[in-house]
Amino acid sequence: MEILETLAAIGKSIIPVLRGTEITVALTFSLLAIGLMMGLPLALGQVYGNKIISTIIVVYERTFRSIPALVLLFLFYFGPATFGIYISPFLAAILALGFRSSAYQSQIFRGAIQSIGQGQMMAARSLGMSKLKAIIYIILPLVLRRSIPSWSNEYSSVLKDTALAFAIGVIDLNRWGWRIAIRTQDPIIVFLVIGVIYFFLTLAGTRFLRWLEKELKIPGFQSRDTIG
C-alpha cells in the first residue's frame, strides 16, 4: 500500500522529476563540454608543448585529480563569494566538475596521442604540413576515435558525480528525490526510482558512444570485436 502511495507521489511529481533529470543531463553535458574543450588542448600541450608548458599542465592536472569533487564544489561555490562575485550553484557546479573532468579527459587524450606513434606525425611533416595542420588533419582524427571507449567511462562517471552538486543547492534529479523522499517518508522507493533513472541515462550515453565508435571505425583496423 505504502509503495503504491509513494509511487503515486512520485507520479504526481513527474514534472519536477523530469525537470531534475533535465538539470542533471544539462549539467553533465556542460561539464563534459568544458572538459573536452580544455582537456584536448591540455593533452596536446602536455605532449607537444615545451618543458614549461607541460610542467604547468601536469601541475593543473594533478591538482584537479587529487581534490575530492565535493571539496571542489564548495571551493567553486563559496570561493568567488569571498571576492564579492556571486555565481549560481549550477554554474559553480559546471565549472568545478568541468575543470575536474578536463584533468581526467586530458589524460585520456594524452594516452591516445601517445599511442599513435611518431610515424604519422613524421609523414605529415615530411609533406610540408605545419605542426598545427598535422595535428588537425592527422593526429586528432585518430586521437578522438581512440578516445571514445575511455571517454564513455568518463561520461558515466561524471554523470554520477553530478549528484554531488545538490550539496551546493543545485536542484537536480538527486535533489528532487530528496524532496519527495521527505514528503512521502519513503526514501527507499524514491531513491530506487531515482537510481533507475540514472541507470538509464548511463546506459543511453554509453550505448550511443558505443554506436559512435562503431560508426567511426576505420575499415581494416583492429577493434574490440576483432581482437576479442
Binding site: Q120, M122, A123, R125, G128, M129, K133, P219, G220
Partner: protein, 256 residues
C-alpha cells in the same frame, strides 16, 4: 654562399649530429646531381636514418650545411615547410595516414599543403596511383592493403607533391620477400623517369642495376663511396669489402 656547380641538386657539407653527446653523424659530405640515385648502406645504428632525416630537417643537425637546388635547408631563415614540399620521404613502415583512404592519403598533401583545388588534386592523385599500379585500391584504407601496396601508396603520396628529390629509408625492409619486388619495380621506374633519389637500402640487386653511386656509412662517417661495380669489384677499404659480402650473403644477389 652556395658554391656554384652545375646540375648539383643536393649538396651536404660537413654534417654532424650527436644524440646525448654521442656522435651519430661525423662530418658527412656528399652531393647528388639532378637525376642521380645514390644508395646508402651501412650497419644498423650507424646513422643512416638520422642522415636522411637531417636532409629534410625532420632532425636538426648540430653543424654543417645542406643545400637543395640553391636553397640552404639548414638555414633558420628557410621556410622549412616549403622546402619539405619538394623533398619526398618514404618510410620503412609506410606511415600512411590510417584514417584516410588511399586516395585521400595521396590527395591530402596537394589539397591541404599546396591548396590545389580538390578536383585537380583528385586527378593528380589518380595519376600518381596509376603510376604505382594502385588505382583500383583508391577507395581502400591502409589497413586493408598488403605491405607492398601500402608502400606503393606511400610513394604515390610523395609523388603527388611533385618533389625534386625523394628520400627512401629502407623502403622494403618491413616487407615479406615476395612483396619486395613490386616496390623495387616502382622505384626503378622512378629512376628511369629521371627522379633524383637518395635511398637507404640493402637491396644490392637494386643498387647494382640502377644506382649511380653507393655510399657506405659506418659509425657516422662515410667510409667509401663510388659506383656500385667499383665498390663490389675493387673496394678500397677492407670494411667495405667485408660489409658488402655480408649483406650480399644476407639479402642475396638475385633480387631486384
Amino acid at each position: 654562399m652556395e658554391p656554384i656547380e652545375k646540375n648539383v641538386l643536393l649538396r651536404v657539407r660537413h654534417l654532424s649530429k650527436s644524440y646525448n653527446k654521442e656522435p651519430v653523424l661525423k662530418d658527412i659530405s656528399f652531393k647528388v646531381k639532378k637525376g642521380e640515385t645514390k644508395v646508402i648502406i651501412g650497419p644498423s645504428g650507424t646513422g643512416k636514418s638520422t642522415l636522411l632525416r637531417c636532409l629534410n630537417r625532420l632532425t636538426r643537425p648540430d653543424s654543417g650545411q645542406i643545400w637543395l637546388d640553391g636553397v640552404e635547408v639548414t638555414s633558420s631563415k628557410t621556410n622549412i615547410n616549403k622546402i619539405r614540399q619538394s623533398i619526398g620521404m618514404v618510410f620503412q613502415d609506410f606511415n600512411l595516414f590510417a584514417h584516410l583512404t588511399v586516395l585521400d592519403n595521396v590527395r591530402i598533401g596537394p589539397t591541404r599543403v599546396k591548396k590545389i583545388p580538390k578536383r585537380e588534386a583528385t586527378e593528380l592523385a589518380l595519376d600518381m596511383l596509376s603510376r604505382v599500379g594502385l588505382v583500383d585500391k583508391a577507395g581502400a584504407y591502409p589497413a586493408e592493403l598488403s605491405g607492398g601496396q601500402q608502400q606503393r601508396a606511400s610513394i604515390a603520396r610523395t609523388l603527388a607533391m611533385r618533389p625534386k628529390l625523394m628520400l627512401f629509408d629502407e623502403p622494403t625492409s618491413a616487407l615479406d620477400p615476395e612483396l619486395i619486388g613490386e616496390v623495387l619495380i616502382v622505384m626503378k621506374n622512378l629512376v628511369k623517369s629521371g627522379m633524383t633519389m637518395v635511398v637507404v637500402s640493402h637491396e644490392m640487386g637494386f643498387a647494382r642495376s640502377v644506382c649511380d653511386e653507393i655510399i657506405f656509412v659506418e659509425k657516422g662517417v662515410i667510409v667509401e663511396q663510388g659506383p656500385p661495380d667499383e665498390l663490389f669489384l675493387r673496394p678500397k677499404h677492407r670494411r667495405t669489402k667485408e660489409f658488402l659480402s655480408k649483406i650480399t650473403e644476407l639479402y642475396g644477389k638475385s633480387e631486384g
